[in-house]
Amino acid sequence: MSPRYIARNSNIAARLLGDEMIVMSARDSTLFTLNPLATEIWQAADGRTPLAEIVETRICPKFEVEPAAAYQDAEAFVEQLASHGILLVSDQPIEPA
């Protein structure tokens, strides 16, 4: 399985409020609220760290979840945000815009 890299789209506005990340698409004003787990992934989405490594080093220890299940949830979350254009996904590292 090739590594997957994720990066935040620059065409968004985001702010951490409490322990949830509020993300607004600057393209169509759609609003997303990320739960603490999704927020952790969002914050780690630097385009250079593979998703599997994010899950292993940041999600599993912090949320005490099994790596396989956590990776599955992370993939689903990433696909969802990517479909709205607020996360970028690639099998290559993603250069900053």
Partner: protein, 262 residues
């Protein structure tokens, strides 16, 4: 003929050649007129025309081209050039279309000042402003109607919010809802935002920051799918939430609701 209408402390010079329409505007904005235009005043030229080919309940279309904004709805068209601080409106001789054009214009102006227009009633009590936010049917006019005599109503429909001297202030507006009555032209620092929900009893409940953000952003008047404006409005909303406490107010429609507003 020139009229200077100052809403939220932001003066806009309205120019029209039609004397009778100027009188309509004078009546409608009587509490918000100022005698002369300061140098920083914005300017809007009003061109009266036969009714446009659509209805007032059409969706507003907003676009930006080379820095110029154009907002068009069934009953009016607004063109605005931020660089020159001047623009024009085209609509028939009715007071409602210019009201709509002014709302759109102020959303543009406020976005760059860290403020916004909000679907909310607002009122001042003891020198502090309270906002009551919700979409149609949430109870904005109801709570405004129930206000006791010591409360000064700023609006029952569209609240004007912007930062001033390090705090968020609410200003009176002439933008009326079902009360059909302009608010008082006064301002006060915002003490709280209440998210309205009508129910069998009156109670104030806390909301999480994320819930507050979702509700606030849902109720901010926002017209343009423009990336820069989206960011500005989002940042303003987050900054507002950093400073102003937000609660859910479930209320039964009786005057007693005002006992919990403090």
């Amino acid at each position: 003929m020139d009229l200077v209408v100052s809403i939220g402390g932001v003066p806009v010079r309205l120019r029209t050649c039609d004397q009778s329409y100027a009188q309509i505007l004078q009546q409608r904005y009587a509490a918000f007129l100022q005698p002369s235009a300061p140098p920083e005043a914005f300017q809007l030229d009003i061109h009266l025309a036969p009714p446009l080919d659509g209805a007032a309940d059409q969706d507003l279309q907003v676009s930006r081209d080379s820095g110029h904004w154009r907002a068009r709805r069934g009953d009016f068209q607004l063109d605005w050039d931020p660089a020159t601080r001047r623009g024009s409106t085209r609509h028939s001789a009715n007071p409602y279309s210019i009201d709509s054009a002014l709302r759109v214009l102020h959303t543009f102006l406020l976005a760059r000042q860290g403020g916004f227009l909000l679907h909310a009633a607002s009122a001042v009590r003891d020198g502090r402003a309270f906002l009551f936010s919700g979409l149609s049917g949430a109870g904005k006019t109801t709570i405004a109607n129930l206000a006791p005599p010591d409360v000064t109503l700023l609006t029952d429909e569209i609240s004007y919010v912007r930062p001033q001297a390090g705090a968020y202030w609410a200003f009176g507006t002439p933008f009326a809802g079902e009360l059909a009555r302009a608010g008082a032209n006064v301002a006060a620092p915002v003490a709280a935002l209440y998210l309205l929900a009508q129910g069998p009893q009156t109670r104030v409940e806390p909301v999480t920051p994320a819930q507050a953000a979702r509700a606030l952003l849902r109720n901010i008047l926002f017209f343009a799918a423009d990336a820069e404006l989206v960011r500005l409005v989002f940042q303003s909303a987050c900054e507002f939430l950093r400073q102003v406490p937000v609660f859910q107010l479930e209320f039964a429609p009786t005057p007693a609701v005002w006992e919990v507003i403090r």
